[in-house]
């Protein structure tokens, strides 16, 4: 089974719209589908802006993982396959199958460990392709998926150059190489701990797995009495604190492996542009960044829409930036993955790009190659 997470850089960047597009393609291609969300999706209007939202329409045979209470909020008739032990605000997460098509409301597992459990169940019951809708700008749980579709756009920032630069930095986070062969195995449950491995093999383990405090910075600095072979920070990591740590480490850290939990944890911990600069600096010192686990981005979508606040009416209204300019600017900055605006013609075969064995017919890809 293949699972793809749909993550956004901010609210309203189009991740659900993108997921719906992929859902339609996958349905046409005859894949047995499943759907879940790490947040809350499928409502008819945005809880914060009040603007209309895209809704999930599922056909018979599709599976979903959602809070039990959400089953009666949609119009699809579903039968419950499994009641999991995963508890959310809206109730216990159930695995259900659609018996009569209709709209569904999704409120699935919001933690990585729980998402893994759900994906395992889907795989066991024969699902071929699972879409995991993200929530807001939340990323970390999606590490459990096999691949990512990232969405960005004017909802992040109305200034196109800012969106493009952010996208470039974000994608660069995923560039560091595959899992370090000597890296500690990632631990989905249980404590994580920072490890400073000195040349010669001595290891200093801290109680915490995250670099978020001055205190942790001081403790780590004390370990710089000799050359460092590897620094593992499996949890969250404040990039400015890391910057200071690297500066303090000076030559002791030259050539060291910098092992982080995942690119999504770094994205959650700080501005991607700060990380981009830090990686460049690390490269100059021969330091190699690797991850304990990663999830490959497959596609980046851009969305010119943003909700603008109408002061006079104390409400939100839809607005857009120049969609052609946005797409062009981001494509210029991001070269690691295809960049598309799914509402504009493109030639990308999304399904095969995501890793399925199917691909959508040519007519579903829209117009000719972009110039």
């Amino acid at each position: 089974m293949l699972s793809i997470g749909f993550a956004g850089t901010a609210k309203n960047t189009g991740k659900t719209t993108t997921a719906l597009h992929v859902l339609a393609l996958a349905r046409e291609a005859g894949l047995r589908l499943a759907l879940t969300s790490i947040g809350y999706d499928g409502e008819n209007k945005d809880n914060i802006t009040g603007l209309p939202k895209p809704r999930y329409l599922l056909e018979k045979g599709a599976c979903l993982a959602t809070a039990q209470g959400c089953l009666k909020m949609g119009t699809a008739r579903c039968c419950i396959h499994t009641v999991t032990g995963i508890q959310t605000i809206l109730g216990r997460v159930v695995i259900a199958e659609v018996e009569a098509p209709g709209y569904v409301v999704l409120a699935g597992p919001n933690r990585k460990s729980d998402l893994r459990t759900v994906l395992e169940i889907f795989a066991r019951i024969g699902v071929e392709f699972t879409l995991v809708d993200g929530a807001l700008n939340r990323l970390v749980p999606l590490t459990a998926a096999d691949g990512l579709v990232l969405s960005t756009g004017a909802a992040l920032d109305e200034r196109i150059p800012v969106v493009a630069a952010h996208a470039r930095a974000l994608l660069s986070l995923f560039q560091p190489p595959a899992v370090h062969p000597r890296a500690e195995p990632s631990s989905p449950e249980g404590p994580l701990s920072i490890c400073l491995r000195q040349a010669g093999g001595r290891e200093i383990h801290l109680e915490t797995g995250s670099l978020l405090s001055e205190q942790t910075l001081e403790i780590l600095t004390a370990g710089f009495d000799r050359q460092i072979a590897a620094l593992t920070i499996p949890g969250a990591c404040n990039p400015s604190l890391l910057q200071r740590l690297l500066e303090r480490g000076n030559a002791h850290l030259d050539g060291a492996d910098l092992i982080f939990g995942s690119p999504l944890k770094l994205a959650a911990s700080g501005d991607p542009q700060a990380w981009s600069l830090l990686f460049q600096e690390a490269d100059k010192h021969g330091q190699r960044v690797v991850y304990q686990e990663s999830v490959p981005p497959r596609l980046l979508t851009v969305n010119p829409f943003y909700p603008s606040y109408l002061q006079r009416y104390e409400t939100y209204g839809p607005s857009t930036v120049d969609k052609i300019a946005l797409l062009a600017a981001v494509r210029q900055q991001v070269t690691q993955v295809p960049v598309v605006d799914i509402r504009q013609p493109h030639s990308t075969s999304i399904l095969s790009l995501l890793g399925t064995s199917r691909q959508e017919p040519l007519q579903d890809r829209g117009g000719p190659d972009e110039p």
Partner: protein, 609 residues
């Protein structure tokens, strides 16, 4: 000891956090507080140092604030904190759905409710917390008759009622009516349909007999499929799209009461459309109403026979069919009490059968009121009413006795005499009655100046006199404040709230109050108007708390006079020796009081075979 980290993720405000800290400290939790302006990174950093069992975040939601909260959750996940520490959020505009989208483990909606916070901290979401807090958490349906002995404290009244009720039971003995026969057939039809509710061949015979007992318009419905004018079937799209319309923060609202468990608060509904009724009921539940009352249309009381199926019409009152009632009930929360009105017309017994089959908790039966202001022939309604009381006893459902004949001009002592007769009758048959004195500025009050100075004395007297006569629950309505409302919503809400507050402070078991536009709406009752009144009631109950109303020295005199006049009326009815004749002759309300004997169903009482 549970350790809780309290975080105002707001640049300035932390009042909610301070309040929460005080309450949690009182409950024995170890609390740590961060100041306003704390960043998500600082929160996680603190949590990694202190290892709290839970983090509670307070923040008003706004655009872009959601991203900050999302980042907090992501950082908690990235740092491994989510495996050991639970995260909850509360604040303005926070709903359960927003909490789910943000990835929190709990969201606290609206006003701070410690019972919910404690249940979350103890890992018992939705259950009663081990640590008790001040203030009620109503998860169980209220039992309005529990704890009352119905012991009469006025021997003379008790004796008079004994005489009157004996006479009534003797009079009805051997008599029946088409309504009783239809009720019996309806029970058989329901039993024959069983769980599936579907009609089978065996029921055709029962239905045919039922139809024969109906008026022409109802017969045409069953035989020819012809709906009465203005009535239509509910559309499948309307029914199927209702869950979607209701998606959102429905469910148990915070208590409207500020102190104590009483009174149980009821709202009335009957928009004409079951779909709209459900939406109104869900709004009421979300705003803390404990129970609802189904109002049926007046025209349904004047025809022999009831329709069936999911039907709607654009007039006041929602048509009483088993399907409509079950549909409405299926959307109610399990803890919402339900009273179904069917007390004053030609279908009274059958309405009790339907109410019971649909899951009602309370019935409504009043012969004097229904046999006069309700428009039903007194003889007919006496036979039907007694049968209905027997059903109430059999079903184990308490029944209330409304005193709305005061609206016609009947003085309270006559209304109360009639209610007492209905109480005594029900008690003799094994049923549990609940009198419903109407707190209103009735024509009688206006004409005789009883409320010229204030509305407190008379209303307190009307409530207090019951406890002088009998140990009984008292449920003022429907609704309180009748004839004190104007078309101005603020005035209407305040007037209602004042009446509810008075009833509450006088120990009423339950109170029914209406939406602020109910008396004057020229169209459907609106939900904003309902919420106006609920908010007004809540605020006035908060204002009074455990304090009360102080009547003038006139009140005891009013009460004494009321009590004596009730006895006089009962003496007169007892001496007359014929309850039905008493109704015809106006002993419980005459033409001068604005009451006339009802005419619907006259001559339809027959001897049983």
């Amino acid at each position: 000891m549970h350790k809780v980290l309290l975080v105002p993720l707001d640049p300035v405000h932390d009042n909610a956090i301070k309040l929460l800290r005080r309450r949690l400290d009182d409950c024995g939790f170890a609390t740590l507080t961060l100041p306003p302006g704390t960043t998500p990174e600082e929160v996680i950093e603190k949590a990694l140092q202190e290892h709290p069992n839970a983090i509670l975040v307070s923040r008003t939601l706004g655009y872009k604030v959601a991203e900050t909260l999302g980042r907090l959750i992501d950082l908690a996940e990235a740092s491994g904190l989510r495996e050991t520490t639970r995260l909850g959020i509360g604040g303005m505009a926070i709903t359960r759905e927003v909490g789910a989208e943000l990835g929190f483990d709990a969201s606290f909606v609206g006003e701070l409710r410690m019972d919910e916070v404690l249940a979350f901290l103890e890992g018992k979401a939705g259950a009663e917390p081990a640590v008790q807090v001040r203030g009620p958490a109503r998860l169980a349906k209220p039992d309005l008759v529990s704890g009352y002995t119905y012991t009469f404290k006025d021997p003379e009244i008790q004796a008079l009622l004994e005489m009157i009720t004996s006479q009534i039971l003797e009079w009805v003995d051997g008599k029946t009516s088409p309504a009783i026969q239809r009720a019996q057939l309806r029970r058989e039809l329901i039993e024959a349909a069983g769980e599936s509710g579907e009609r089978n061949a065996g029921q055709a015979h029962l239905l045919a007999r039922y139809i024969d007992l109906c008026d022409g318009e109802i017969q045409a419905f069953y035989r020819d499929g012809k709906l009465p004018d203005g009535v239509r079937w509910l559309g499948s799209h309307e029914i199927e799209s209702l869950p979607e319309k209701l998606a959102g923060s429905w469910g148990k609202g915070g208590s409207i009461r500020h102190v104590g468990e009483k009174p149980t608060l009821f709202a009335q509904y009957g928009t004409g459309c079951p779909i709209m009724d459900v939406v109104h009921i869900k709004a009421c539940e979300a705003w803390g109403i404990d129970g609802v009352i189904h109002f049926d249309p007046s025209w349904g009381a004047l025809q022999e026979g009831l329709l069936s199926g999911l039907v709607t019409h654009e007039h006041d009152g929602t048509i009483l069919t088993l399907e409509n009632l079950r549909f409405i009930r299926s959307y109610m929360e399990p803890y919402t009490a339900w009273n179904v009105r069917g007390h004053r017309g030609l279908n009274t017994p059958e309405m009790q059968v339907l109410a019971h089959a649909a899951g009602a908790d309370y019935l409504k039966i009043n012969i004097p009121y229904g046999g006069t202001a309700g428009g039903t022939d007194p003889a007919r309604l006496t036979v039907d009413g007694v049968y209905s009381l027997r059903l109430a006893a059999e079903f184990g459902l308490p029944y209330d006795i409304p005193g709305n004949d005061e609206l016609s001009g009947v003085p309270p002592h006559k209304t109360f005499a009639g209610i007492l007769i209905m109480m005594a009758l029900g008690l003799r048959l094994g049923a549990k009655p609940i009198p419903k004195p109407l707190l209103c500025c009735s024509p009688y009050m206006t004409i005789y100046g009883e409320m010229d100075d204030n509305m407190v004395d008379m209303n307190i007297a009307k409530l207090a006199v019951w406890q002088e006569i009998v140990d009984t629950p008292v449920w003022p309505g429907e609704p309180v404040g009748f004839m004190t409302h104007t078309s101005e919503r603020v005035q209407s809400s305040i007037a209602t709230a004042a009446h509810v507050a008075l009833a509450a402070r006088q120990g009423a078991t339950a109170v029914t109050f209406a939406s602020s536009d109910e008396a004057y709406s020229k169209g459907p009752i609106s939900i904003p108007a309902r919420i106006d009144t609920i908010r007004a009631v809540k605020d006035l109950l908060r204002f009074f708390g455990s304090a009360g109303f102080e009547p003038t020295p006139r009140e005891p005199q009013i009460r004494l006079l009321l009590h004596e006049r009730i006895r006089e009326v009962l003496r007169t009815v007892a001496e007359r020796g014929d309850f039905v004749a008493s109704l015809y002759e106006g002993l419980l309300g005459n033409q001068e009081d604005g009451l006339y004997p009802g005419r619907a169903g006259r001559g339809t009482v027959v001897q049983s075979k």
